[in-house]
Symmetry: C4
Subunit: 219 residues, 4 copies
């Protein structure tokens, strides 16, 4: 009845199952809560719904950008955790830190919905994206340098590629924040375009990777 | 400690478990968020609650139609994934694409609750249903034509039946959108009746299927 | 690579895992959404928060009653599904039907929060509880009479006990609805007291059950 | 097909899987719902967003404090359940009792957001934290004294350490409630600082624990 060995206990305590379960739950709720910020317009006197709907365009844009950001954050989370055989205390807490900007994203989306050209709104939304990318980077760097947590070691080249994939959009988010006061709409365009850059970097990484490299497994 | 073979790694990377976990989470949140659009009526002076409740009839109708749509979307998702032994990159992204109209459905339900005879509201709700059916169709066609992803191959006849099951309600949704300006209430009736059509097609498909065909496993 | 036998396919198609995953998700969201109906009071001029908090007493009562109802619905769901080795189409759809009144419960709670003595509000809340109990009863009767779905057969006495456990509160809910117009506050008391009755019936059932009977496993 | 032995049935009925699934779901929803209380400010005439954002500082503070509280509650829940091989009826119900203050936390956070210096608001928030800590303590004491529920027995010293880890912040929460009327802002600071205390106690516990003690596995 009792397995009792040190090994079995070690595996149990460091099992990533619940970390993934909580994370999937948070991803699912965040991606769905976004819709609460897309409000049905109230009609003014004589106004037609089809006209009033144009007013919610900013919130639809904020919804779509945020939906893609969360989708990428989830696939990147999954791409990391397929390599993780075990977690440790730091992975658990870093993962919770990753959940912080994620769970604030609906607020950020609401902010750029209602104040779409305001530099403060854009900077806050951009900061959330920067925090999301940075914590993802830290977890990637931490976990991939600890072979005892992994099913199999990740070679240094693949590791750097993983960094590049996060760093490229991160750099663009920083640019978007820097120009938020002077060119707010360009910032929004950068937020919208960053995922395209991510996919391009991804495709190039795969094309250049030798057979068997971890890049082929990136979603 | 290390399984390390290419095969084990391949299975791990292509395991559908987290795709299903995220999807079940999103289905659960969306089906429950719908209720937030059914508002407790505020009473006017001298008004009785029992009278005021008649005013929320449209939102109850929108709730019920959307509940059934999500329930069918979930059973269809489950019916596909029982055949999927492995996912690939495209299945993961197509599945996220399927989640997009799904997570917008509470907005669509709110729209037809408050503007129940407005052609714009009905067209948007109908478009969400069309997007949901179309992405489901694409995943079905993609996955069932790749035997290496499946536990066992699905024969062409069953595959076509799976298409028909989605295509029949899809056609009716397109009709509902087309007549939204002239006969908005008929469109709502079509949204409500489409699931019945789905079940009739389902029962007929099963009755006509030879023993051992995949149709017998459809929920 | 391919297991391919009819048996393996049958097990896969009828695996209850995703039915439980979706249900647990819905239970988790519903129990947490309830809190959105407990509003922070707005203070009138000169009003102190401690006084204003008395105004939200009805919504706290509605929260607590609903929390207990959902907790019992979940334990009862778990108590049934520990016996279920397989699901079939009917179990899947009956389970979705069980989710319908469950996902409407936050609306019911909002209704009795804001109109706490209104017969219409109490009747609707009571009707949701009756629907919840009835669908639970139907799933129990359906599943326990199909030994091919169960790990081991459930004897007729335990089966009847399972019915009694749901039927006793159900009867009280019907009384609460019947007297809603004349004694609304008594109805609320019945909603609050029904779980106590449930626990008493439970304890008595266990005390009277022979060794090895299913009642000992009820939560 | 039927495993049928008493042992297999016992394991199945007492399997903690669904208790963890429901709990992870509730943790995920609660941590994400918090953001709904961080409102995008409405601008007064001539007001700039960057100034208006200062007004939501209290709700951001309440969000962050509550986020950390929930994160710790989850890691503590995980730290207990890695030891639990089986649940019993009492663990199930105690766990649901633990979910009660947890699911009320978004209300508590809203309360201290909008009435940040009000003693009543602070006392209620503090009471939720006290309830959360107390129920956690009770589950820990209950489960760790029942070796038949555990993978391996927990030695008395580790058990006391587990109590201390909860009792230290608990004592501070009681102080925060006691001084809420005279020094409300100090109470908020105590809520914010309690997690730091928790981590200090944690680090000290690990440093003092002999090799192989359960403290080394605390997250």
């Amino acid at each position: 009845m009792e397995r009792g060995t040190e090994d079995a206990r070690f595996e149990r305590v460091h099992d990533p199952a619940r970390v993934m379960a909580l994370s999937d739950g948070i991803f699912a709720v965040v991606i769905t809560l976004l819709v609460l910020e897309v409000h049905v317009p109230e009609l003014g006197p004589g106004q037609r719904l089809v006209d009033a709907l144009h007013e919610i365009r900013p919130s639809v844009v904020a919804f779509l950008i945020s939906f893609v950001v969360i989708a990428i954050s989830w696939t990147a989370h999954r791409d990391l955790f397929v390599h993780l055989r075990l977690t440790d205390r730091n992975v658990v807490w870093l993962n919770l830190l990753y959940m912080l900007p994620l769970s604030l994203l609906p607020f950020g989306a609401a902010l750029i919905s209602r104040h779409e050209r305001d530099p403060a709104a854009i900077s806050i939304y951009g900061t959330l994206l920067v925090m999301l990318a940075t914590t993802r980077l830290v977890i990637w760097l931490y976990a991939t340098s600890r072979p005892h947590l992994l099913y199999e070691p990740i070679d240094p080249r693949s590791r750097k590629r993983g960094v590049l994939l996060v760093a490229v959009p991160l750099a663009f988010y920083l640019v978007a924040i820097a120009i938020a006061s002077s060119m707010p709409l360009v910032s929004i365009w950068i937020f919208a375009a960053a995922p395209i850059l991510y996919f391009v970097t991804m495709v190039l990484s795969r094309a250049q990777a030798p057979p068997g490299a971890a890049e082929h497994d990136f979603t």
